[in-house]
Subunit: 367 residues, 2 copies
């Protein structure tokens, strides 16, 4: 099948670019002397995971229990659910762990460790647990100098219901950086936080096997991974316009795009059938190189100049920019601002090589 | 089941509010002397459609062929797909029409009428077709003085493959209004455009049975519907913060909310498990009364003061605003900026009355 035969809007995944992006990150992480635990929150597809998984690690990261369950169904075992878990999610987590023996969860509070301990006593079960650290983003995670950190490590060590997997942090503030030097500095902050916390825990006589860090920018631009055991990164697989604007990839590396059709052509305006739902309302490029709701390229992926989706309604996208010769029914591709947000609108990914559709991959959504 | 037993994030639909919103719009449209063709693009649920459908009309509006197919499966017949169709969507449209006899499509170009005619000749089939008009929003649709309009009407009249259902317009520019008088003026522009086009077509000796207008603001604030046969509106069922900010509803009328759990609590910050995917990245309230990514209310729906989701990551939402006493694991509800965008992240709607979950409705997504 050729791309132009697909119904629109549709999510296209360029296989050669995806393969290249996956291979390059694996090379990069190997050059740093560590292993990769790819984050599947962007593509949420087992076929993509198979390309991304580091053979010398085997594990993945996920952002929802739904993803964890999907990848457990597909036979993966070492799955880290990297959003702080709450007590009411433990029964579902335990069910997932019964299928994926290496399943692990993240916490940043001793109160949650107590809840896991209590759950474990009541139900004769245990969990693999990572302690989340704040390396400067100030999202979730404990500061390395928070007095709760040693108390939490001791509690985990003593609880029969907890196997301490290690410490983990995500330097999401790397997305605020605009130069590679700034990103490298954040990467060092991320590394130092995680390694410092692991040393603190080990100094208490407690094993801390895992030291997990990562974001796409810091994975790409870190100058050292000394003391780190694994790197987590995810959006690099697909790439997007925001990533391209902060030195994570070139626009030619972006593997995810939305196929759309011209549904209306007037003298002064053109609309396609990809709007706020098909593209998402993410405007992250507003902070870097503004591409409104996405960059329009031709059906084959070639540039049309600076043509963007200037405005969106629920199912309508307005094409704006350079004079472009598009007729009713013509098809274009739209490169997304933020691949994670855009991909989430689709329940399948059409895998393409050049203009041919070579496969259709399932993906999961929701929670 | 009680609300707090639901997994988070989850979409809640307050049944008494939904029922009230539906009843009020039906009363409103009856007072204008016309019928309602509710737009199902927000809730995309057959159960919601049953509450919204006007017994004296029976039809609905949809924004995707996926919705049309879902509602045809549920037994509805009079379904208007209100986004301009393209030639390659005709086979699927024909399949839907074989199940929903009253199915109709929208076009704004004689080129598309020719494509339908050609398809009809080749496949011995016909379509019910509405001509879309531009009443001032300048999205899709023909201007009433466009010379293509009479030519298109004549073509439709002469084609064996086209049954002209009427003319339709949507005054989406009502969303740019800030006062009720401004909205009433746009409503009159919407009405005059549709009625003027219908009169122009009838003056050619061509039947133009349907004169369809609508948006939630213009439906609520129009001062006349003379000459109109049906009003389309949709987001009023759920309501949202943006609608409340432009006089379409009160905040107490908002029927859709997202249930979320506190996943991290530090001295200076609180995070819940509803982020950019669970809430959408819609920022429409930035133009009116800014609520960042949504207004946080308590589990029971009661105000916590001006507390908002100030920032979102993919699965994290940061609670900001008035001092609020929330502990790890506590649950809150978040009122959305834009119900259509938020609802689209969910494959089911938990129907609630007070704190009780009384039902779970299916919804459809995608294209």
């Amino acid at each position: 099948m050729r791309i132009e035969e697909l119904p629109t809007p549709a999510a296209l995944l360029d296989l050669p670019r995806l393969q290249r992006n996956c291979a390059q990150m694996l090379d990069r992480v190997r050059a740093l002397g560590v292993t990769l635990r790819p984050h599947m929150k962007t593509l949420k597809s087992i076929d993509a995971a198979r390309l991304a998984i580091d053979p010398s690690h085997g594990g993945i990261t996920v952002s929802t229990l739904d993803e964890a369950s999907y990848f457990a169904d597909a036979g993966l075992s070492d799955i880290l659910y990297a959003v702080c878990i709450t007590a009411d999610k433990l029964p579902r987590a335990a069910e997932i762990a019964s299928r994926a023996r290496g399943f692990s969860v993240l916490i940043d509070d001793i109160e949650m460790a107590r809840a896991i301990d209590q759950d474990g006593r009541a139900n004769q079960r245990s969990f693999r647990v990572w302690i989340e650290l704040d390396s400067g983003e100030h999202r979730t995670g404990l500061a390395v100098d928070d007095p709760m950190l040693p108390a939490l490590a001791r509690f985990c060590d003593q609880s029969q219901a907890i196997e301490l997997a290690g410490v983990a942090t995500h330097a999401g503030h790397s997305y605020r950086c605009r130069t590679i030097d700034e990103i490298a500095a954040v990467a060092e902050q991320e590394r130092a936080t995680a390694v410092g916390a692991a040393e603190l825990i080990r100094a208490l006589g407690i094993a801390c096997p895992g030291v997990s860090v990562g974001s796409t920018p810091t994975a790409l631009h870190a100058r050292s991974a000394d003391g780190v055991t694994e790197i987590r990164a995810g959006v690099y697989m697909a790439g997007d316009l925001f990533q391209a604007s902060i030195h994570s990839c070139a626009e030619d590396d972006i593997a995810l795009s939305v196929l759309a059709s011209v549904i209306s052509r007037k003298q002064d305006r053109i609309f396609v059938d990809a709007g706020g739902l098909a593209l998402s309302k993410d405007r992250s490029t507003a902070r870097t190189q503004d591409r409104a709701y996405g960059l329009v390229v031709d059906l084959h992926g070639a540039s049309l100049g600076e043509v963007v989706i200037g405005d969106v309604h629920q199912e309508h996208g307005e094409v704006r920019g350079a004079k472009v010769d598009l007729r009713l029914g013509d098809k274009v591709r739209i490169l997304p601002n933020h691949a994670c947000m855009t991909a989430a609108a689709y329940d399948r990914l059409y895998v393409v090589e050049g203009d041919r559709v070579v496969d259709c991959w399932s993906r999961t959504n929701g929670w």
